[in-house]
Each structure stands twice: as structure tokens, then as C-alpha cells.
């Protein structure tokens, strides 16, 4: 998913869930910031680099593929963009090494999603935004894993787009090219994807790189053979799945506001969304790029609230963070985001580690062993001890 959904659609969902215009802006800014908070940016802010929620293209190219670097990559992408569906999944005649990767495949409605949303409960609006990014991406990034893996994330020539035609769909073969500068051509179904790399842990095999940006377009429907699915074709119907994502966001945000008691799997707030359903489905199905979709969602959001939605500005809260004193940083906009990110990363790493899978690294239980390991996470201790206001 891109800015259209993480920023503007998240604003709409937050507003429909009952948040004010200003609160909705905080939630959607945080959701979109997940796609921009890299180690490079954090180093400019002199903030803990472990709070990175994404990696720049060149950061990834520069990343080593030793065990520790792979764990760092997996922590970022599995925690924020490819939330694993079943950490205890089994498959016949497969060894532990294969299963460790297989178990990181992302799908919606996982136990980890429940943990993610509950973690944001009673937290900051920034935490709600982080949770909404993770939730939305479980729909877009289904069937890919947030760790470099050829055997899971690879795709092949069997890739077809389904174009609406009359009552049904016309099937068109997708052509992939590897140019980093060429835009996707929607009219001819020519899309950019990452290069084939025969090495299991090559960065090109991270997430949906081999399927290009297809999972990020709300309008697209396609059939393909995922590397892990034993030659079983999968249909990805993004308009339908993005709508589910939107309704689930409204439901989750209402839970975070305390309007509903529980947050359960497979539950969608279609009631709150109903008055806007046709308009939302129209935006989701429109064959257009990120810019067009942003415009449409922005117009809908402004119609909903009657307020102007500011453009996403990466610089907006940086000065506040830089100018804040050491003890005040955690109370700034970005300080709260950083704590929410560290908290999410710590929780997902713990769940993966507890399942016996070391691909995201080692997790140390504070209750049992006290503070050990990476010092960037000390902010979480301070938060637990009540030193930080939400």
C-alpha cells in the first residue's frame, strides 16, 4: 500500500471511527510515517536507529546478508509490513529451515494482528497509526514474507492480470521489467519488479519485490503462482481486499477509542462504512496510480470532515524533536511514534522468537531477566515505569 491508503484512506477510517479532524490527522500521519522512518532519517534526528520501520532502497542494497543483518531486516519488514500469519504452521516433509521462512508468510486476521491492535490500546494516537499501517498491509502484502527468501517470495512467468470487461474479466499476461526509473504501464500490463537472484537471502527476494508494486495497487486483480504454494494458483482481488482492510481499520480504531469492548478476527465495521461504500469502492476500483488515488481519497476525507487535509510533509515534526531536551523527546510527536515503533518491533520479535524461530533475532523477557541487549529499547522501560505520558 502507498500514501493513498496509509495517509488519506486512514484519515477517512479514523474520522468514521469517531476521531476528531486533528486526531485523525495524527493517526494517518503516523500510519504513513511508517513508510518513511528509516535508519538514515533517525540518524539525522539523532534518534534510536532501532526504531526504523522501513529501509531505503540503498540501505537495503548496502545491507549485509550475515545472520545479524538478516535479523535486522526481518524485524523491520515482518513487524511493520508483512505481519506473519501463523508462526506455528506446518507442512509435510519440510525441514525447520524451510518452515522458519514459511511461517513468516503474511496474511490478514492473524493472532499477531490481534496482539498488534491490543498493543496500541490505551496508547498514543501515533501507536494507533502504526497499528493501522500494519493492519492495512496484512491485506495488501498477503502471501509474501517480510524476510529475504527466494523459496517463499519468488514468482515466475505465470502471472496474469484480470481486467474488468462487461460482466466478467479478460485475462492479460503481465510483463515484468527491471528498470528502476520506468513507470508501470497500466494500459499494457507492463510492471517493474526486482531482479531474479538465485541466492536465498538476496535482498531482491524480500517481500513482494518479485511481484513489483502490484500488491500496492487497489484496483488490480491478478492470478499467479507463489513460490511456496506447490503450483497452486492464487487469485489476488485487491479491490475486495482493500475494502475489507478499510472496514477492519474502522472497527479496530473504534476499539482503540473504547467504543467496542473487544477486537476480534474477521470482523469489519461495514455499518459505519455503509453510507460511503459505493464511493469507496469506486475509488478502489479506479485504474490509476498513487497520485490519482491520493486525490480521490483526499476529496472523500474532506467531504467527511469538512476540513482540509494537509499534504504529508516528512519534515513537519522533525524540528520539534530536534529542539526538545533529552528528557522531553519522548513527549514529542516523533518521540511517541518512536516508542510505538519500538514497542511493536519488540512484541513481534518476541512472538517470532518464542515460536522457536530465530529469523528476527533474540528476545529477552524483561520480567524474567531485566534489561539486556540493544540499548535503543531502554525507552520502553521508561514508558513501563510511567515516565512517559501517552
Amino acid at each position: 500500500m502507498q500514501k493513498d491508503f496509509h495517509y488519506y484512506a486512514t484519515y477517512c477510517a479514523a474520522y468514521l471511527a469517531g476521531y476528531s479532524h486533528e486526531e485523525s490527522l495524527t493517526v494517518c500521519y503516523s500510519a504513513q510515517f511508517v513508510d518513511r522512518c528509516s535508519a538514515t532519517l533517525l540518524s539525522k534526528l539523532k534518534a534510536p536507529r532501532s526504531a526504523a520501520t522501513t529501509q531505503l532502497q540503498l540501505e537495503m542494497m548496502d545491507a549485509r546478508t550475515d545472520r545479524v543483518s538478516l535479523q535486522n531486516i526481518t524485524r523491520i519488514w515482518a513487524s511493520f509490513h508483512f505481519l506473519p500469519y501463523d508462526l506455528y504452521a506446518t507442512r509435510k516433509r519440510c525441514g525447520k529451515k524451510y518452515l522458519n521462512k514459511y511461517r513468516l508468510i503474511c496474511k490478514p486476521n492473524s493472532d499477531l494482528l490481534i496482539d498488534t491492535v491490543k498493543l496500541a490500546k490505551d496508547g498514543s494516537l501515533q501507536a494507533a497509526g502504526v497499528a493501522m499501517h500494519v493492519l492495512a498491509d496484512t491485506w495488501a502484502h498477503s502471501y509474501f514474507a517480510g524476510t529475504p527468501s527466494l523459496v517463499i517470495n519468488n514468482t515466475n512467468y505465470h502471472f496474469y492480470e484480470l481486467i474488468p470487461e462487461g460482466e466478467g474479466f479478460a485475462k492479460r499476461k503481465i510483463k515484468f521489467i527491471h528498470s528502476t526509473t520506468a513507470p508501470d504501464d497500466f494500459d499494457k500490463s507492463v510492471y517493474v519488479n526486482s531482479l531474479y537472484q538465485a541466492s536465498e537471502n538476496a535482498i531482491m527476494n524480500l517481500g513482494h519485490g518479485r511481484a513489483g508494486h502490484l500488491p500496492d495497487y487497489s484496483f488490480i486483480r491478478y492470478r499467479y503462482l507463489p513460490a511456496w504454494a506447490d503450483y497452486e494458483e492464487i487469485l489476488k482481488d485487491n479491490p475486495k481486499e482493500y475494502f475489507n482492510a478499510f472496514c477492519q481499520m474502522v472497527y479496530a480504531l473504534r476499539f482503540l477509542r473504547g467504543e467496542t469492548e473487544t477486537f476480534e478476527k474477521d470482523t469489519y465495521d461495514t455499518e459505519k462504512v455503509a453510507p460511503w461504500e459505493s464511493q469507496i469502492k469506486e475509488i478502489l476500483s479506479k485504474r490509476q496510480g498513487e497520485a490519482g488515488a491520493c486525490q480521490d481519497w483526499k476529496a472523500l476525507g474532506e467531504k467527511l470532515s469538512g476540513c482540509v487535509i494537509d499534504e504529508f510533509d516528512l519534515e513537519r515534526y522533525q524540528e520539534e524533536y530536534l529542539q526538545a531536551g533529552k528528557d522531553q523527546k519522548d513527549d514529542t510527536f516523533l518521540g511517541k511514534f518512536i516508542l510505538a515503533a519500538l514497542s511493536q518491533k519488540s512484541m513481534v520479535t518476541n512472538r517470532i522468537f518464542k515460536s522457536g524461530n530465530k529469523l528476527a533475532g533474540y528476545s529477552i523477557d524483561y520480567e524474567k531477566k531485566g534489561f539486556r541487549g540493544n540499548k535503543d529499547f531502554k525507552g520502553l522501560v521508561k514508558k513501563k515505569e510511567g515516565g512517559i505520558k501517552e
Binding site: S50, G361, N374
Partner: protein
Amino acid sequence: MSSGQRIKNIVIGVLIILGCVILIAFPQEGIVITAAILSLSLFIYGITRLIYYFTMARHMVGGRIMLYLGIIILDLGMFTMMLTDIPRIYIVLYLLVIYAFAGAIDVLRSLEAKKYQTALWKLSLISGIINLAVAILCVVFIESPRMIVYFYCAGLIYSAIIRIVTALRKTAIVYIQ
């Protein structure tokens, strides 16, 4: 990283550095040893490809290509190991590609870091320039076995140091309920 993995990485790192010191001390024999190491690496890579096929890639759509790749590389590795005299040009080309690629990535990284106004860009730029300079020196000193061994060892020592530093880093993530 577990304690065992930390110890293993430190020991491997130290052994690599010691090996490089020996190569640097005897550069004439070093070029033969360097060629043997590269051939052996190819051979081992072929074996790891086969292991990869049987443990993982056989579950993948189109994974059989890994089996063929493993066999071909293994065969190539055995072939080069049997050659008594590998032309020096191949070693130089290998070094050239490795250093030039690393240098280009570092320079691009530094430009990106500069765009983000971080202080890291200078470090990346210096690292990139050094790597590119070594790549050029590989071509300049193509006739000197001594220099080729030095450049090869410099890369290995750098990797070994990174391995040791990584092993000493605190990487575990605390979890607070």
C-alpha cells in the same frame, strides 16, 4: 546471536586475519594459495547449492533449477581446483568486480544520506572512494602478484573485522509485557 555463534564468529574472524598475515608475509606463494582459495570457494558454493536444493528449493515452484545450478558450479569448482596454474587475470577480475561494486554502492549511499542531511554521508563517501581506488589499483598492478595478494587480503581482513565486531554487538531485543 547465541553465545556459541558469537564464539564461532570471533574464532573464524581471528583465523581469517591470521591466514591473511601469512599470505601477506609470503606473497609469492600467496598468489597460488589465493587461487586455490577461490577455487575451493566455488567448490563449496556448489555443495551448498545442492544442500539448499534438498532442504529448501525442492519445495519451491521451479526450484529444480537450483539442483542444476549446484551440479554445474560443483563441476566448475572441481575443474578449477585441478588446474595447476589459474591465469592471474581471473583473480584480478574477481577483485575488480567486488571492489568496484562495493565502491559504487557506497557512493550512491553517501548521496542518499546527504539528501537526508545525515552526518553519515562523509563516511560512506570515503569508503566508496577507497573501494573504487582499490578497484583501479587492481588493474594498475595487474602484473604484480604481491599487490594482488595484498588487495585480496585487505578485503578479507575487513570482512573478518566486521564479523568480530558483529559478534560483539548487543543485538537482543528486550520485551516488556
